[in-house]
């Protein structure tokens, strides 16, 4: 039995939450379906850990769906990079679900809760599928599975605020346009190579050489995924979607959805097209680099002026995605390491912060910053979690944010890109401003008249603090994450260089 499970781990990783989703809907009661979802997610997480352990040394697991030969059938392929991303996704889900129980009960009517958890599981299955599959078209299908579930999840915030509906609608339009662009790009690649398997694509593209179709394909994929990962200026869907989605959903999405999209981008850029693809290198440096830098500043500045805490954090996410993209554009191993390690670091940090926002909403009934005066005294643990997460966002030492900044600046300095290094730091100073605005209100401002707020329940506080703890633990001892990210980067780097050698 164990051997059987072990042999099919990659399939189970996706299938488990996928099968669980309809069961969850059939179970019918909020509590029951929540408990069921929790168990399933725990198992999914265990599978991710197992996959991570198996690939940590460098083995690549290749799993053939339906037993078809590799370039013909769909391949699930796990290497260091996506094992790491799988771990992030399922790990975040494992922590968000226990947290969700109370806040979902407060935000969503009881009869809708089973469907909420169904959508949640579907979303997880989709995200895991995006990450694990080695087939370009399969990525699209899973992308849409997760996106459709996400639209529904975001829209379920409408029981609290009707703006969730328009947010979800806008997200849907932009997300679908993005996904369709992606399919067009994949179609172009298929036209050239006649294959959809990512590894096979890489070889055949290298054989085929550059052409205008290939360039079109690259651009379509870049824009398509750019829409999904909220690359500036394609981010317009994100702030409202994050701000009005139910708090648990926001925490989960912030930790995972954009991360999976970034992973797809990494995969296409460096496994399929390769470092040495000149058109890509030019595009990254001429277009993506400036956009990433603008995102770092523009989004942070907008974040400073937000009154809604969740919206503020959403804008901050756009800025952080700017950092991740910036790391890519360096096209060096250190730069890639920075991006990959920031995937993890930002997931942990942002999840914690959005969870804090959820705790505020549950206890204080609002996450409007101007109404959070003195909340540091009423909800000391929650607010302390915010402060710790905020430090990580700023990039202070002993938090994961620092590790990311370290690698990013190091990568910039290695290339001798002075201004970029200084800009990275300057934009993290903007983070000081928007984090500190909240800190000042929470601790130094008197509470509004007649408010009764009590500390968030333990079921929410513990997951929040686990995320905070992770962001501190991996800030103090970043050996595991930085080595994992470094190895994933060097694997991408090595494989990618062989391909384009004439």
């Amino acid at each position: 039995m164990m051997a059987l499970i072990e042999a099919n781990l990659p399939a189970l990783q996706v299938v488990l939450p996928l099968i669980a989703a309809p069961i969850c809907a059939i179970l019918g009661r909020g509590g029951r379906s929540w408990a069921f979802a929790c168990i399933v997610i725990l198992a999914t997480f265990a599978i991710s850990v197992a996959l991570f352990a198996q690939t940590y040394a460098g083995t690549i697991i290749s799993y053939r769906m339906g037993g078809w030969e590799i370039p013909l059938g769909i391949e699930y392929r796990v290497d260091r990079l996506n094992a790491f991303v799988l771990l992030i996704i399922s790990g975040s889900a494992t922590l968000v679900l226990p947290y969700a129980r109370r806040i979902v009960a407060a935000e969503i009517p009881a009869e809708r809760q089973p469907l909420f958890y169904t959508a949640f599981l579907l979303c997880i299955a989709g995200l895991l599928g995006i990450t694990i599959t080695g087939d370009a078209f399969n990525i699209f299908v899973f992308l849409e599975i997760s996106s459709l579930a996400t639209y529904a999840l975001v829209a379920s915030g409408s029981w609290v605020n009707k703006r969730a509906l328009t947010a979800a609608y806008n997200y849907l339009i932009m997300g679908t346009v993005g996904a369709t662009f992606f399919v067009i790009g994949v179609g172009m690649l298929y036209m050239i190579t006649g294959t959809l398997n990512l590894a096979d694509l890489a070889v055949r593209i290298a054989d085929h050489g550059d052409s205008s179709t290939l360039r079109m394909g690259f651009v379509f994929i870049l824009i398509g995924i750019g829409l999904k990962l909220a690359m500036f200026p394609l981010h317009l869907w994100l702030p409202n979607a994050y701000a009005y989605a139910p708090s648990a959903v926001t925490a989960f999405l912030a930790a995972t959805a954009t991360k999976a999209a970034v992973y797809v981008m990494l995969r296409f850029m460096f496994t399929v097209f390769g470092f040495d693809y000149e058109f890509q290198a030019d595009t990254l440096r001429m277009v993506v680099l400036p956009l990433a830098v603008i995102a770092m500043f523009a989004a942070s500045i907008v974040a400073i002026f937000q009154d809604n805490l969740k919206r503020m954090l959403a804008y901050s996410s756009i800025a952080q995605i700017g950092y991740i993209l910036l790391g890519l554009t360096f096209l060096t191993e250190t730069g890639l390491t920075a991006s990959i390690v920031h995937l993890f670091n930002h997931a942990v940090t942002k999840a914690a912060l959005f969870m804090v926002a959820g705790c505020f909403i549950l206890s204080a009934g609002t996450c409007s910053i101007s109404k959070l005066g003195g909340i540091g005294r009423d909800m000391p643990w929650t607010t302390a979690a915010f402060v710790a997460g905020g430090f990580s966002l700023i990039g202070l030492p002993l938090t994961v944010g620092f590790i990311s900044k370290w690698y990013l600046v190091l990568a910039a300095l290695e290339l001798g890109w002075w201004p970029v290094a200084l800009m990275i730091m300057a934009s993290s100073l903007l983070a000081v401003i928007y984090v500190w605005r909240v800190v000042e209100v929470a601790y130094l401002q008197p509470a509004p008249e007649g408010t009764v707020r009590k500390e968030a329940p333990l079921s929410m506080l513990i997951p929040t603090w686990i995320f905070v703890g992770l962001s501190i633990w991996f800030g103090v001892n970043a050996m595991l994450t930085s080595t994992a990210a470094g190895r994933a980067a060097s694997a991408l780097f090595d494989s990618s260089h062989i391909l384009w050698k004439e």
């Binding site: 703006r163 609608y169 339009i173 679908t176 805490l309 919206r311 009934g365 109404k371």
Partner: protein, 139 residues
């Protein structure tokens, strides 16, 4: 005059791509320019259909028949894979449309309109009208 012939050939020989381009741009334009939420969805559908056509025309092998096994060994078949892919994409598209329409229905129920500018106006009022803070739940 042979130059023109080549040009014409160039254009006519790729008519499926031109069709795809026109459809895609039409769809995208509708999606972006229309204020009516339903029309946006219509545009989105046209846009997606363009992609379906791109794929399907791509799978066509000149002189090939439908990819169903025949008795004749030297039959040329069209490439069936794009069809299969697009079948999936169509399903995804339907699901997306359904979710979008459902959202529009709910928006209409909550806002009383499906015109984007009117909705934006309402949302602007929610933000800045009568001192309501953004973070507040709206009953």
């Amino acid at each position: 005059m042979s130059d023109i012939g080549i040009e014409l050939d160039y254009i006519m020989g790729r008519y499926n791509y031109w069709l795809f381009c026109i459809l895609m741009m039409t769809g995208l334009y509708i999606t972006v320019s229309r204020g009516n939420l339903i029309k946006k969805i219509v545009g989105l559908n046209i846009f997606q259909t363009a992609v379906f056509m791109l794929y399907i025309s791509m799978g066509k092998v000149i002189g090939g028949t439908a990819p169903i096994l025949t008795e004749v060994p030297e039959t040329i078949y069209s490439n069936p894979l794009p069809h299969v892919l697009i079948l999936t994409a169509i399903v995804v598209g339907i699901a997306t449309t359904a979710v979008a329409l459902a959202l529009v229905v709910r928006i209409r129920e909550s806002y009383g309109t499906i015109e984007e500018d009117e909705i934006l106006e309402l949302e602007h009022d929610m933000d800045f009208g009568s001192g309501a803070a953004q973070g507040d739940p709206v009953a």
